[in-house]
């Protein structure tokens, strides 16, 4: 029992590390865990506990750099703009509190919903999967139609297709191997493009207000439920990430404010992380890097699933406390720090990490993604349309048209 606790704490520590350092993803550490499990006498159940704790804690802590530095990881990209907006209004800590609330309550709600989920959604998953492209096209059409003005609709469609074509070029051609292009793509569309205006503006960060009064529960119920439901869906269906889930949640909750949005997006991310382990048990399919690693280390039966859920809840509780403390610390000190040099340092770090991960070809991808990422703010349409970078390849994949389109472009 003590060894499980020790490994869980180790996983929490690694989750804090991977969450705080932009560009370091939990998936980078997974091969190490699998190698340890296969080549030594480490207990597989202990390593699985560490992996679950790390992946869950990472979803909480990654909101700190995405809020204070505008540096997203996979899944937190859509939170950058609302969180950054709150930061520039002096409410950075509030953004962290909202995401901690969204992550923790969604984690608990998902744990409660696991049993009905096993009975209902998972048997229906194959049906949803075959119609996924229509679902995504439906979401896209509604999103674009919501722009209302003709010029807004034009720019929304333009940004969607520009980022979608960029996604196809970077993720589905010979330019980069595997998913290494995701880092420059997401950092350009949702990171550097958010930070650049701060670099050129002379104003620094306002003093951050630290509120300690409890969050109101009632206004957050709808975004929380929608976020959890979308997270469950994305945890079961392949190739649909938290960002598409957030789009779904946003539509379902009809939330317009930045605060509701943050609760919703954080709920999607955490519930997806938990449900990916349930999918491993129920349908034998791994829907996240962490679930793949757990699946390679041990067979997940009902007993193991209950254990993993217990570890996830324990780690989630601790992660929320750490996130709030780190968020408070960051809010206290960020106002005093020279914000412009920090933004420049983050941009330089992102450029360095891009070269490290994707090689020199990552730079034109990053530059193009940044140019596209600048468009939503200046044309006043939602940044969500930049999710075309993943949505368009997904729609083509589910429709069975990806190869046709790539061949038509001689790619």
């Amino acid at each position: 029992m003590l060894d499980v606790l020790a490994y869980t704490l180790l996983g929490i520590g690694l989750g804090v590390f991977t969450g705080l350092v932009p560009g370091i993803h939990v998936n980078n550490l997974m091969p190490m865990f699998v190698a340890l499990a296969l080549s030594s006498s480490f207990s597989s159940i202990c390593l699985a506990a560490a992996i679950v704790a790390m992946s869950l804690v990472n979803t909480f802590i990654s909101y700190i750099p995405s809020t204070f530095l505008g540096a997203p990881e996979e899944g937190t990209e859509l939170s950058v703009l609302p969180a950054h907006r709150l930061l520039l209004e002096g409410h950075g800590y509030d953004a962290v509190r909202l995401t901690a609330f969204g992550c923790l309550t969604s984690l608990m709600l998902s744990a409660v919903l696991i049993w009905p989920l096993l009975l209902f959604i998972i048997p229906a998953y194959s049906l949803i999967q075959t119609q996924m492209h229509w679902l995504l096209i439906g979401i896209l059409v509604i999103m674009i139609a919501l722009e209302r003005s003709k010029i807004g609709i034009f720019w929304a469609a333009m940004i969607f297709f520009l980022s979608g074509f960029l996604g196809l070029l970077a993720l589905d051609t010979s330019l980069c191997m595997g998913d290494v292009a995701l880092m420059p793509l997401l950092s350009g569309l949702f990171g550097i493009s958010v930070l650049l205006p701060s670099v050129f503006s002379k104003s620094g960060l306002p003093k951050q207000k630290i509120k300690d009064e409890p969050l109101e529960f009632r206004p957050n119920v709808r975004p929380l439920c929608a976020g959890t439901a979308a997270g469950i869906l994305t945890g079961v269906i392949p190739s649909v990430g938290p960002s598409q889930g957030t789009v779904l949640a946003q539509l379902a909750a009809r939330s317009k404010g930045a605060r509701e949005f943050l609760v919703s997006v954080s709920g999607v991310n955490t519930s997806k992380a938990l449900i990916s382990f349930v999918a491993l048990y129920a349908i034998g399919r791994a829907r996240s890097g962490a679930a793949i690693a757990v699946g390679q280390i041990m067979e997940v039966r009902l007993r193991e699933l209950i254990f993993l859920i217990g570890v996830a809840l324990f780690a989630g509780g601790i992660a929320a406390m750490i996130q709030l403390q780190l968020g408070k610390l960051a809010a206290k000190h960020m106002g005093k720090m020279p914000y412009r040099p920090i933004c420049i340092a983050v941009i330089v770090t992102i450029i360095g990490l891009t070269i490290w991960y994707a090689g020199l070809i990552g730079l034109p991808i990053l530059a193009t993604a940044t140019a596209i990422g600048l468009l939503p703010a200046v044309t006043r349409v939602k940044r969500t349309f930049c999710m075309g970078v993943i949505m368009l390849p997904c729609i083509l994949y589910f429709a069975g048209l990806k190869d046709v389109v790539l061949s038509a472009f001689r790619l």
Binding site: L166, L169, A170, M177, P364, T368, L375, V378, T379
Partner: protein, 222 residues
């Protein structure tokens, strides 16, 4: 700078970047990937693999199903669909070295690399082994021999034994009835043929067993 100008500049940079990336992608050929390295993470991406054909099956619809093995020890399926196969200028044989560029797909929980067009396949034909150089240490191995049919006998329930003669040495080739029923070409004594098959011992004598009708090539009819 006004928002209008920034929008125009951003759009211009986006389009320029996309055009540059498009031309790079269209003219970039992926480096050769070791087959053993391929896993589910590669699904959907384009790769180039290179290896030797260790299995080859013809489909009645004209498709060709290959299995490739490379120095990494990995084995992967390469389906060459009829539309691509019909564009090939030369036949593909067992043991040929082949370089394939294609997209990685998962089919029935197994990975495969699917070439889109004939130019995605580069074939280097393996030379035939002299019958005189074959030894019992090669039993169970896949070998390619070439020679003239010196004898042809039907045995059992429609199986065929062809005797191939090369430079004074002979090797019986066993063609099971199931292969004969599935498109095996008409061959007679005097034909020069190339045969790919598995070397085996039968009544203490070495013989070659054919597993598919596509494993025999008529070089010259008598």
């Amino acid at each position: 700078m006004s928002e209008r100008i920034i929008a125009k500049l951003s759009l211009l940079c986006s389009l320029t970047g996309l055009a540059a990336l498009y031309f790079s992608a269209a003219n970039t050929h992926p480096a050769i990937t070791a087959i053993a390295k391929l896993n589910e993470d590669f699904a959907g991406t384009k790769v180039t693999i290179s290896g030797r054909i260790i299995d080859l099956r013809n489909h009645t619809d004209g498709h060709l199903f290959l299995k490739l093995k490379d120095d990494s020890g990995g084995v992967i399926s390469v389906p060459v669909f009829a539309s691509v196969r019909s564009q090939l200028k030369e036949p593909i044989e067992l043991l040929d070295a082949i370089q394939v560029t294609g997209r990685v797909k998962e089919y029935q929980e197994e990975l495969e690399v699917i070439p889109d067009k004939a130019s995605d396949l580069h074939i280097v034909h393996a030379p035939a082994t002299r019958i005189s150089s074959l030894g019992e240490n090669q039993i169970g191995e896949l070998v390619k021999v070439e020679g003239v049919i010196s004898d042809r006998a039907i045995v059992g329930s429609g199986s065929l034994i062809l005797t191939i003669s090369d430079d004074g040495c002979e090797l019986p080739v066993f063609v099971p009835a199931s292969v004969i029923k599935n498109g095996f070409p008409e061959v007679h004594v005097g034909y020069t043929v190339r045969v790919d098959g598995w070397l085996q011992l039968y009544n203490d004598n070495m013989e070659l067993q054919l597993k598919d009708a596509s494993n025999i090539f008529i070089i010259e009819a008598a």
